[in-house]
Symmetry: D3
Subunit: 247 residues, 6 copies
């Protein structure tokens, strides 16, 4: 059986195996045991993509993954193990990881920050963090993040339309006061960071958020303002598999 | 040795290796003598600041450091050592580190990414990376980053006016074509990330940048779009000592 | 038979002639079986929705269809017939029609203009007109039109990702020069109509468009600038069935 | 007689019924004598203009009417009659009608929607609808609509300065609370439709508007967001006669 | 006689020397007969207005002239003479002068700068300077300046429509390359002064402007960016007489 | 002695009367000894600059002072005396004066307005006027004015950080309610003058400002909106000496 056949199966399997809850866009293996150190496959983008089973006349939407020519580095053992877990659990390695894989230090720093922010302890639920991710990415019109994290909102919430609301205009979602205040803050912080002041923080406190929560809202919004720009600058393309998830 | 030990070493190493000239905003030793090696104090904000020696009637501009009430965590050994090195070499711990010090994981992730981006290997000089930092922060009108990284531009360049140019309007600096193209890209990516396309990357290539350089420009610009927003959201205040540096 | 009778028929005819593939947002039958020919129900919104089969604890996303309390008028015979055809062919009446159904004159004027623009003769393909609809609606962040016409782009093109490109950021789509020029014009006309000049029209001509095509691009872009605002002003909600179509 | 026959008549009827005062931009008869009933000329732009009596060295401001080369169609009987009425009553055919006259279906759809919105029954006075038209067109800086509908505001109100206020900056007009709320809504809907929410509708209700009125405000604002863009895209020029009306 | 005496005379002189055609917004005599030489009234706003002859139920559009309560100062002899000349030649004192008349020093400084810029020697014709004034004021949507200087454009050019073009959207005017470049520069300088660079100056030079001309374009554009804001901040109202001039 | 003689003296007098602390950007003597009274040189830019003592390989940041080639005029006696006083008291002539020195009338008008606004009687302190100058110039990103007037804020306030706050983002300064309201008004007037209305003036009144104060806030904000644009249009460069002042 060819590699790409396997990939393609893998792309489907995790969806079936995964619980309804444990899915972020990077689909966050948390805590878990590192995979045993077996030789990691060379992280070449095409072999990791789900949609490459049959020869197609047109290249897949995510081929190449980015518009920069950056030869893949040899993954260090930690990152090789991480990629393997993605492959095992999700059936694919998210393209953003493949994009960073030209340099182990950059990849590790990105993964560490991402996992802490999106999967670590927080007063915000994982869904709420993904909602921030998508509302921010909508403000910045980031194709990669809207696609990958829009899928995560659909999955975490079990509500496909909520994902669409976040992508299109978060104001149309029928949110409770807490979540609306959270997104208003995140989007204002994205659009005009210079104008955020104590009154904005007070609004969050009145909506029930602690100071630690305010940090987390800010940090997640900040992180996606970074990622949106790295993605835009490099024309980063999301794995095509996201599109069909949890519709 | 654990994974996180390794990471943390990597994060700290560049600091030790750098010459008196190679200083980023997180480590702006100027010519000067390191502070005498006294036992690192408990990382409570006030005790870490250089300018707090004598009791002042009005609170210092950076007191409190942020507008959120986040009790300091006990630093883990790696981060405690890192703070001590800052204190020894710079005479102070940059406030952004103190701000993140309520949580070791967040602090470590921030330090790792920062040090890789701003001090790691790159086709961009450290000065160029600081120029991007300030031009982006000017677009976002970020008090913390303009202050800390404006000082870094003054120090690295030995040209106090260049720091002011980056703070006020990078277009007034008399830059070579390479640096102008670099900043145009970074600022466009900041202001309207959705509009960055292949033509923009091509402009960088024609100005002499490699694809790896383009990644680095994008990653630094992205990083400060994150940091600007964390700083804005929390009213983060720069150490007052920056203001007088390298004028 | 009078001229105006003919007009009214013409407005409806395209619906009947269209193949299963040639579907606009107002008539998105996909493969499926027409609903059985039962007597057309009184055009009250809930009874017309496809997705309202089982009682749900929470109201559907499109209930109510708009945030204004406008009692449904008695449809005149032409409009009643038109609604019945929608129901028969699509299995539902698009919510925008239900929204306008408080007044026959307004409904008829809307339908006549819509059908002429989106289904009438043109040098632009129906897909191209839907692409303009979605790119314009993305600029205006219109939930209703992005949903309904995003589905139409997916259906007409057979390319689910093209629909997402139009919704998220049309610049990421790999378009030919003609279609890119078309969307650049439509989005500029949306964002800053005062700045459109002869040079913009010349760019379209150089991309192969005739003057009549330029009219059609402008008229479709104009129409959705109208519809986006009526939808935004009334919180118009798309039929939930669109979300799953042609993914 | 069928309903649709009636519709088509209805589109024309208001023109005939209106008094010398009740004039919209599409029918600005000013006191004056109708042109003598001569056979309606073929709808070629120049022959329809009022101001083209004597040969001028420079072309008139509205020659050509649009920057697209679209040969005039043969008007169908309904539209020919409508043009003749314009000529008889106003002394000219508004250029927007001449612009649409390359295609009877488009012309009829435009006329039907225009007449329903601007002349049909509504809780908004005709003056109020024209005020919305001009305030929206000012936001979009549309030469055609500012000229034609600015004249209508002057005529309906008998207050030349009110027309100028709407053209230049509606905020300087000394309006009652109702009209100010109406224009604030229309202009917000024009500038940032995505941000219009229930609070905006509530503000209108508190200012005395019914839900049907809110629809009408939205529909008129929407319509001119369309027309402004068709005019901008085609460089549509207003009949020069408007400029002198009701100063 | 001292230099400053001369300056003060110079500020007034152009008014006296100008022919019936050479009129700026501050002195728009149209063909007409000067008002009979009656003793100049005390410069209280109402008595200076041309249109206040008969008692009206509603206050005039320019009553009060500004929304600040600033008691008129006693004009010094130079300014009293200047007001008298305005009254004699124009039949009214422009409201902006009345607005500044609470303080002789401010009034004199304004008059001196205005007269030098708009009436002094320049490579720009007086019409061109007025065109800049109106195009800038349109960008800033300034009711006072659009009204007063729109009238000046109509008068200087003898082309009422040119005034409307400048007010509504200068891009619709059919200008020669020189004048179009001039207005493009002035409007860019108004909208985003930080982005004006050598390439913009070069564009003016290529259109035939000298460096001195570039100064004048900039100074006039700058002056109206000041005046627009003083007018907006104080709700300054133009003399109602402007509206009917040179239509 | 005539009134205008007095005016002209008044323009110069404040300079002579001011203490070492009361310095505006046009006269920033810092503690230091006035330059020895040598004969005032011909006002050619290079000879007037403080920092040009030794031949430098690279041209100074302010050489040339502007990007337009405008030969210096022979200063008239009043202006020559004024330049001499600047040289004596400040040790340099501010570059903006040198820039205007190609034409005595323009120079005098500028000086008269500047001195009245920034040094004349007002309910606003000189520091407050300089704060407005810098906050406005920050909105417009004007290198010249941020540098020269940022130095003035540092000097007048004795608080170097206040100068940085005004340059970078006035919202981070810990101001009393009065000063915050003042800057909010000035910056709104700068960014969107069309939107300033009675509610904005009322906010100033509630913060303790008189109507005359409101005029002064508006006039200073207006003046720097002019100066920012003249500086931007000409690439005006501040004297390099400002940079080191009052840090």
């Amino acid at each position: 059986m060819s590699k790409s056949n396997k990939t393609s199966k893998a792309a489907v399997k995790p969806l079936m195996a995964k619980s309804a809850k444990a899915q972020s866009a990077l689909r966050p293996i948390k805590g878990g045991k590192p995979a045993p150190a077996k030789p990691a496959p060379k992280p070449v983008a095409p072999t990791l993509k789900a949609a490459s089973a049959k020869p197609a006349p047109a290249p897949a939407d995510d081929s190449p993954i980015i518009a920069l020519n950056l030869p893949a580095a040899k993954l260090n053992p930690a990152m090789a193990a991480y990629f393997k877990k993605c492959q095992d659990k999700l059936g694919f390695v998210p393209n953003v990881l493949v994009a960073y894989a030209f340099d182990n230090a950059k990849l590790e720093a990105f993964v560490a920050m991402y996992n802490d922010l999106m999967l670590g302890d927080s007063g915000l639920s994982k869904l709420e963090r993904e909602m921030i991710a998508v509302a921010v990415s909508s403000q910045n019109r980031c194709y990669y993040c809207l696609t990958a994290h829009g899928a995560a909102v659909r999955q975490y919430s079990g509500n496909p339309l909520l994902g669409e609301h976040m992508v299109m205009n978060y104001r149309v979602a029928r949110l409770n006061r807490r979540q609306r205040a959270m997104l208003d803050f995140a989007v204002k912080l994205t659009a005009s960071p210079w104008s955020v002041e104590e009154a904005d923080r007070e609004r969050l406190r009145r909506a029930g958020f602690t100071d630690r929560d305010i940090w987390d809202i800010s940090a997640v919004a900040g992180f996606f303002n970074m990622s949106n720009r790295v993605a835009a600058a490099t024309d980063m393309r999301p794995n095509t598999v996201y599109n069909g998830q949890a519709r």
